[in-house]
Every structure is written in structure tokens, then in C-alpha cells.
């Protein structure tokens, strides 16, 4: 009898814990109740500018009056530049300097949303996994060279493209594939790519070499193996390809770039259902229309486009 009683007591405790559910948790950035009563995309008057949109959705921001942006740590060039700043968590480069391609894009988007950069922006270092972990996010959006993929779209909401990216092949001088001009010449090569990048699908679907691809935690491992001669080439996005041949691999060459069936692009990732997607899209559209995005490209990625296409 005593045993039965203690079992029931335990079960009762568990059920009680169940009832303590906080009913307010679980609303993930739902429709804000702004003073104007307007909601973002379904209101009678769609906002005309990014700033209007941001104002209309002031409640949707993670932290009121501030734009919270997540990005990877370390912050790699050429996406972020300017060097480290003491006292900051970020390594390699400091995002709040607004330098580098992604840095400049964020600075510009911030301004168009009506915030002042960098005072009204908080940067949050994020592991790649955290970008798309389920549940409420502690950032407004994240950008770290994340490519749009339809499967990914189910877990997060994506903005429009802020960079149309092509994949490229990096090798070393003297490698048998250094002078390749066609994909067929890569058939016997051992190629590597960092994990989580679309570079891997280029190897598997486009190049289709006979040897299994090597997949690394990050670019560092791939670069190491390339230098040691363990792999013949690395597939990586074009700007990063130029960066590593310029800086990290003295004998490195960019062999060429690949054309994809559908243009791959980098986009910001938001929590599903976030009304801020539209605001940022408006900002990006403005930047494309008035040429600002091209200026940013020329400033930070100049020289990162000239590579022959491998066919």
C-alpha cells in the first residue's frame, strides 16, 4: 500500500509540473499591437519605405529601439573587415565597424530601417547551429554567408538576396588540376569543402569526381589539407576563394568558378513569421535600385569576380 501511495505521489507531482506551463510563452513574434493598429503586410496601406515598415513593426524587434544582428564568430574577411576591437567578443574583425561586405550591408540596412549605426545596433555572436535552432530567437536576423535553400526555408524565413554567389575552385600551383578549364578534367581529383555550405553539393552534383569529397568543420581544415597536398582542390564561394589565395595559401590559385542552374544567393535568416523580413527586403530593394549595393560590392569584393567559368 505504501508503495502504491508513493507512486501516485510522484505521478501527481509530474502532472502538477505540467500545469505550470506559462501560457504567454510560445507566441513567436506574432502580430504586434502598435498604436496605429496597423499590422505589417496585411494592413490596408503597405509601408512605402523600409523605415516606415520598421516603425510600423516596432514591437517585433528583439530589443526595443535597437537592431539585434547575429553573425558568426570569428568574423571572417572579406565579409567583415577592420580588425578586432578590445573588449569585444568578436575575433578577427569587429562587426560594429561596419566594414567588409556583410558589415557594409548591415550598416546600410540599419540606416534605411531608421536606426543609427552602430549605436542602435547590437551584434550577437552565433554558432551556425543557433541560426536555425527551433524556438524564439534572441536576434532580429542573422547573416553569415548563409545560402538560401528551399529546405531551409521551412525552419526560418529568408530575406531576398544580399549577394548572388557563385562557387569557385581553389587549387595550388603545380597541382594537376590547377590549369583545368573543364569540369571533366576534375574527374579524378580529391576535393574538399567546409560543412554546411552549398560548395559540397557543387562537388557532389556538378563535378561528381570519382573520389569521395572531404568535408571539414571550417575552411581552416580544408586549407590545411590543400597545403599538405592531401586534397587537390577546395570548392568555396568566389570571394572566399580570392581571399584564401591572396592571404592563406601562398601558392594558391583560383582555378575557376561554376555556374549554377539556379543562382545561389546569400540571405538573412529570420525567425519564422517575423514581420521584419519585409522591412529588410524593402531596404535591400532600395539599395539595389539606387546602386548602393553595387558600390558596396566594388568597395569590398573588387577583384573577386574575375575567374573563368568551368564548364
Amino acid at each position: 500500500m505504501r508503495k502504491l501511495f508513493s507512486i501516485l505521489a510522484v505521478a501527481g507531482l509530474l502532472l502538477a509540473a505540467c500545469a505550470e506551463d506559462d501560457p504567454t510563452v510560445g507566441e513567436t513574434g506574432g502580430a504586434p499591437t502598435g498604436t496605429t493598429g496597423e499590422t505589417a503586410a496585411t494592413g490596408p496601406t503597405a509601408p512605402a519605405t523600409a523605415a516606415d515598415c520598421a516603425a510600423a513593426n516596432a514591437d517585433a524587434f528583439e530589443s526595443a529601439g535597437v537592431l539585434t544582428v547575429g553573425t558568426g564568430n570569428p568574423a571572417f574577411p572579406p565579409w567583415w573587415q577592420g580588425g578586432q576591437v578590445d573588449g569585444s567578443e568578436f575575433e578577427f574583425n569587429e562587426p560594429s565597424l561596419g566594414q567588409g561586405y556583410e558589415g557594409a550591408v548591415v550598416a546600410e540596412v540599419t540606416a534605411r530601417l531608421g536606426f543609427s549605426f552602430p549605436d542602435q545596433v547590437t551584434f550577437v555572436p552565433l554558432g551556425f547551429n543557433k541560426s536555425f535552432a527551433p524556438g524564439p530567437k534572441d536576434f532580429d536576423f542573422v547573416l553569415q554567408q548563409i545560402s538560401y535553400l528551399p529546405e531551409r526555408d521551412e525552419a526560418v524565413d529568408f530575406s531576398e538576396s544580399y549577394y548572388d554567389v557563385n562557387q569557385a575552385l581553389v587549387s595550388t600551383k603545380g597541382s594537376p588540376i590547377a590549369g583545368a578549364t573543364t569540369i571533366a578534367e576534375l574527374a579524378d581529383a580529391t576535393l574538399g569543402a567546409p560543412v554546411g555550405t552549398t560548395s559540397l553539393s557543387v562537388i557532389e552534383d556538378v563535378i561528381q569526381p570519382s573520389a569521395d569529397p572531404q568535408v571539414y568543420d571550417d575552411l581552416a581544415g580544408a586549407v590545411q589539407d590543400l597545403k599538405a597536398g592531401s586534397i587537390d582542390g577546395i570548392v568555396v564561394d568566389l570571394p572566399s576563394a580570392f581571399f584564401i589565395t591572396a592571404v592563406q595559401i601562398p601558392k594558391g590559385v583560383v582555378v575557376g568558378q561554376f555556374e549554377a542552374e539556379s543562382q545561389e544567393y546569400f540571405a538573412m535568416a529570420f525567425e519564422t513569421g517575423s514581420p521584419l523580413v519585409e522591412c529588410v527586403n524593402l531596404a535591400l530593394q532600395e539599395m539595389k535600385a539606387d546602386g548602393t549595393l553595387d558600390v558596396i560590392h566594388d568597395e569590398w569584393l573588387a577583384g573577386a569576380t574575375n575567374a573563368p567559368f568551368l564548364t
Partner: protein, 297 residues
């Protein structure tokens, strides 16, 4: 008088010991001994507890999100076969590594247990080896060997990720397993050694026929522990770029922004680990049953 000593204390219900001859597991046997009422209570309490847990989890506010991100059937269907295919690479690595570890660790343990001043340098080297490789994180050993050795570009030095990962795992795990063996060796009663030496057996034969057979039998459960750890650590070869089970799961995870592939991998690990644990339980029980009275205790 012959025959085993009488069981002086007759069995009572509730007694943690089990009547001789009942060869059931430790968990189930006392239950059987309690009779039908005990079984009924056990079933009811299990149902209540597990139902309560499930109810709490499923009704929590975050559950639908978790279900989508961790238990997505479509992603599972895509991920499982691909991960399983790459998982065979892990199997190859940890089986080869474990066989080598069992041998290398035994050698190290024996070197450490040698007595006599002439063996001092061997003892010291063996001790230094176990200290060093238990200290250095496994991933570092893999990185140093897997990236460093090929980078030296010395002729004859293999370039294969699999080769260096196995070498690294063997070096690290032999250090741990050597200590397990050593504990087993030291747990053999010194009178056993005295009895064997008294018969005129050499030190080597004493070790071989009397000490090691007893020592190894005693440490089979902790050996399995380390082997299971090795099976997980086989994933570290991914650091070198080699695509094995966990890396494959990660690739699919990043393609889909979904964690379900890891659940698929976890399932694979569970399916292979549980039989190993039961097998060792059976081995130990069989050995005890053969040798002792009251083995079910």
C-alpha cells in the same frame, strides 16, 4: 562432507537475494519472486510514470517546434539511409582500433606491472605514455597526426585519414584501457601469485595462466565502457575531412536547418550499443554461474 555449503537463510519475499537457480536478470528476477501482485504494481506504476512524462512533454508549449526540428519524418527518411551508409566507416574504424587497443593496452599494463630494478626504464616509459595520452585531448592527437603527419610529406608516411585516425584512437584509448587492465591485475589476490610461484611457475607463466585470465575477466564491464566511448570518438575523424556518420548527419542538418539527422544517428548508436551491453552482462553472468554458488546474487 561434500557438496556446497547449505543455504542457511531461507529466501523470504522482499529479500534482495534471489533463490538459487533463478537465472533471471537483476531487474526482473526479484520481480518474479514477488509474485503476481508485485508484477501488477510494477506495471501500473510504470504506466503512470511514463504516461505522466509523455503528457508533460507533449503538452509543453515548445513541443510542436521540437517535433518539427528534431523528429521530422521527411528529413528522417532522407537522412537515415545516407547516415547508415557512412556509419559503416565508423564501424570499420572502431573495430580495427579496438582490436589494436586491447593488445597494446595489455602490453603497456604488463610493462607497468613488471617488478625489479632492471625493468625501471620500461616502467617509466609505460607510465609516461599513459599520463601523456590521457592528458592530451583526443581531438588534438587526431589533428596532430592527421594533419601534421601528411604535412611533413615524408616518403612512406601514409596520407590516409583513416590510418591516422586509427593510430590516434589507439594511442589515446590504449592509455585508458591500460589503466583498466592494471586495476584488474592489481585486484587479483596476491596469494594467487604466491600459490603460482610456489608451484615453481616463472613470473611470465604466472602472469599468463593465473593473473591475466582472472584480471581480464574482472574488467570486462569497464572495458566495454571504454569501447563504447571509442565508438563515439570514431566520429572525430571528421575533423580531418573524412565523411563519417556524424559528419553526414551534420551535412544533412545544414542542408535542411533541421536536427532530425542527429536523432537518426542516435538511433543507430542505441541499436548497436544495447546489444553489446546485454552481451557483456550475459558473459559476466555465465562466468559467475559456472564458477560460483549463489551466482544470481
Amino acid at each position: 562432507m561434500s557438496g556446497p555449503p547449505p543455504d542457511v537463510y531461507p529466501y523470504q519475499p522482499g529479500d534482495p537475494r534471489v533463490p538459487e537457480g533463478d537465472r533471471g536478470s537483476r531487474i526482473l528476477a526479484p520481480l518474479r519472486a514477488e509474485g503476481a501482485r508485485g508484477v501488477a504494481i510494477a506495471i501500473i506504476s510504470s504506466v503512470v510514470v511514463f504516461t505522466a512524462i509523455v503528457v508533460v512533454v507533449v503538452n509543453s508549449s515548445g513541443w510542436p517546434l521540437i517535433k518539427e526540428s528534431f523528429f521530422d519524418p521527411e528529413v528522417f527518411a532522407e537522412a537515415f539511409p545516407k547516415i547508415l551508409e557512412k556509419f559503416w566507416r565508423n564501424v570499420f574504424i572502431f573495430i580495427v582500433a579496438e582490436l589494436l587497443v586491447l593488445v597494446v593496452a595489455m602490453i603497456v599494463a604488463i610493462l607497468r606491472s613488471l617488478t625489479g630494478p632492471v625493468f625501471f626504464p620500461l616502467r617509466v616509459m609505460a607510465a609516461a605514455y599513459t599520463d601523456l595520452f590521457r592528458a592530451i585531448p583526443t581531438i588534438l592527437v587526431i589533428a596532430l597526426l592527421g594533419f601534421g603527419a601528411p604535412a611533413l610529406q615524408i616518403k612512406g608516411v601514409p596520407d590516409s585519414d583513416v590510418f591516422w585516425a586509427i593510430v590516434a584512437l589507439v594511442l589515446v584509448y590504449s592509455a585508458y584501457v591500460a589503466e583498466v587492465y592494471r586495476a584488474g591485475i592489481e585486484s587479483v589476490h596476491p596469494s594467487q601469485v604466491a600459490s603460482a610461484r610456489a608451484l615453481g611457475l616463472s613470473r611470465r607463466k604466472t602472469l599468463r595462466f593465473v593473473v591475466l585470465p582472472q584480471a581480464v575477466r574482472r574488467v570486462i564491464p569497464p572495458l566495454l565502457n571504454d569501447f563504447i566511448g571509442l565508438q563515439k570518438d570514431s566520429a572525430l575523424i571528421a575533423f580531418l575531412g573524412y565523411v563519417e556518420g556524424l559528419r553526414q548527419a551534420q551535412i544533412i542538418q545544414f542542408e535542411n536547418f533541421d536536427f532530425t539527422p542527429y536523432v537518426a544517428l542516435a538511433l543507430i548508436y542505441i541499436v548497436i550499443t544495447i546489444p553489446q551491453a546485454r552481451f557483456v552482462d550475459w558473459l559476466v553472468a555465465r562466468d559467475r554461474r559456472r564458477r560460483q554458488v549463489g551466482a544470481a546474487l
